[in-house]
């Protein structure tokens, strides 16, 4: 649906030049909740604003439903944005804000009013239709911004960190709300965030970005369970990194020799490393702890109780740290003590060979 091909954006020139996007290519599908996830400065907002039409890329192409839209100014693109600061028009009421897009499209008055009513109902703001935007709370402003952007029924809704200004509880509510709106309207959502949890809970697919590049695109489960790069594994959730050596590969499967000398069946990405020294990633909750020998051996250095789970900090024999997370059972007694010699194991296929 949206086809971004080899888009590069360089700001400034000469010594001050900064390249915000480097040869970015991505295809966003009809009807999906697509998230651009990355730390600040990774280029996610630049990409979003390029799609909206506020930024002209230095090179590359952009098409919507097969039509090249790079030459179109923002007001000709059937794409609407929910801005980070909402950007509600302060001199208009809530209803006037919501109706603005339709008025600019010269829709008849009756249609504008009907759609405004429908949209306000959708975001549960009917009561406050005639308020000034300065008289409503942050969460309500957020809803108005959403209604305003949805009212012209755009092909794509772009959301630029729309939840970052809300407090924790409201943010949780709006996450569910956004997901509901997306499925009720059937509009493609492109969502920008630096919050990995937000990305995991809401998205159909996630593109993880860093330093102007897209590192990996996949479903939340795919990204979490099968990170392709060290940055992705590190940025999303907690991860243990273990150095190893590839002994054999077969498609997505790889035999990796661990520092302990034992080998373990791991998973590698297409186009990933084929041989030699590699880093593998293991999620703390994907590994198991045992007394005595495991795939890796070490000494228990700390036990931290978190209520829902317990974190076991292990110093491996080669000096590296390893953390295992285990869900707590009711009335279970702690069976390990700091200083115990323990083994760390994980099932075949759990460890991910990373592209460094």
């Amino acid at each position: 649906m949206i086809e971004v091909t080899n888009v590069t954006k360089t700001f400034g020139s000469g010594a001050d030049a900064f390249t915000a996007l480097k040869e970015v290519s991505v295809t966003i599908r009809q009807n999906e909740f697509f998230t651009l996830l990355g730390p600040s400065g990774c280029g996610k907002t630049t990409l979003l604003r390029t799609i909206a039409g506020f930024i002209d890329p230095t090179s590359g192409s952009l098409s919507l439903e097969g039509r090249d839209i790079l030459g179109d100014p923002p007001y000709l693109r059937p794409v609407n944005t929910v801005f980070q600061n909402y950007a509600l028009f302060p001199h208009m009421t809530v209803a006037q804000n919501v109706g603005f897009g339709l008025e600019m499209l010269d829709k008849p008055r009756s249609e504008v009013q009907a759609t405004v009513r429908e949209m306000l109902e959708l975001v549960k703001m009917t009561q406050l239709a005639d308020r000034q935007t300065s008289e409503i709370s942050g969460g309500q402003q957020q809803r108005v911004a959403l209604a305003r952007a949805l009212a012209p029924k755009p092909k794509v809704l772009l959301l630029d960190e729309p939840l970052s200004a809300l407090d924790f509880k409201l943010r949780k509510e709006m996450q569910i709300e956004l997901k509901r709106l997306q499925s009720e309207t059937g509009i493609t959502f492109v969502f920008v965030t630096h919050d990995q949890e937000e990305a995991l809970t809401m998205s159909d697919r996630i593109a993880v970005m860093n330093e102007g590049r897209i590192l990996q695109i996949g479903g939340p489960r795919d990204i979490y369970d099968h990170p392709a790069e060290r940055f992705v594994a590190d940025f999303i959730g907690d991860t243990n990194f273990v150095e190893g050596t590839i002994r054999a590969i077969d498609g997505e499967a790889a035999e990796v020799e661990l520092p302990s000398g034992k080998t373990v069946a791991s998973r590698r990405q297409e186009g990933g490393p084929q041989a030699g020294a590699v880093t593998i990633a293991v999620r703390p909750e994907h590994a198991t702890l045992q007394a005595g020998e495991g795939l890796l051996s070490g000494t228990l250095s700390n036990i931290v109780y978190f209520g829902t789970d317990t974190h076991y900090h292990i110093t491996l024999d080669d000096g590296h740290a390893f953390v295992i997370r285990r869900q707590n059972q009711p009335d279970a007694r702690e069976s390990y003590a700091v200083g115990d010699a323990v083994g760390v194991s994980f099932a075949p296929g759990v460890a991910q060979v990373l592209r460094d």
């Binding site: 007001y75 794409v79 944005t81 801005f83 600061n85 302060p90 603005f100 305003r148």
Partner: protein, 268 residues
Amino acid sequence: MAKSRGFDIRHQRGFTPIALLCFVLLYMPIIILVVYSFNAGQSIAIWEGFSLRWYQAAWENEQVQDATIRSLVVAGAASFIATSAAVLAALATTRTPPYRGSTFVFAMINQPLMVPEIVTAVALLIFFAMIKVATGYTGLWYLILAHSAFCIPFAYMPIRARLQGMDLSLEQAGADLYGTPWRVFRKITLPQLWPGVLAGAMLAFVISLDDVVITEFVKSAGQDTLPTYMLGQLRRVITPEVNAISTVLLAISVILVMAFFVLSRSKK
């Protein structure tokens, strides 16, 4: 600046007397002028009792009436033209991507502030004389255009300040919601720019109302504005009538300048 025990000019010895002296020197002459506008006698220096006779005299003086109307017409037209031009100039200097020579453009817009007024006056005198010879037109438009020109930077400054303080994302949101540049300007930029526009227009109005030098050079015969009329009067007999006119002008200026400050502060 350091907040607590840093440098505070108020603790400097002699600060208060110097400040008071400055204010007295600034306002004493004006206060005297205002006081003597109510003088019952003929003199502008000897107090002979309270009276409004000079206000009445000025009010009934046909030359004053004539000059006042001309002043208001010129100031009104000039501030309208200057403000319109200033809005365009402010948009061009705040709503465009940075370009080479933008500082030069900025300097050119503010040029009337830097060129000595007498130079502008002489230049306009010569220039308009050429046009007068060529066209034969001797109407009020020379004055209006001349005033418009030197009022532009005064109208420009508050408008530009307001534009710079405005949230750019509002205009982007307007464009994102299918507003063409012109409609975004009308529906979003202008309604919010309005206090700045009014402030600029008022400042331009006051500056125009007050001008002597350029008016004196540019005006044709019989085109006295209030300030040039007063200047002409001073060359003959000085009566408190001049004080009365000045006091009214002062009142108008003070009201407009106060309105200007209120408007430019309301931008949060």
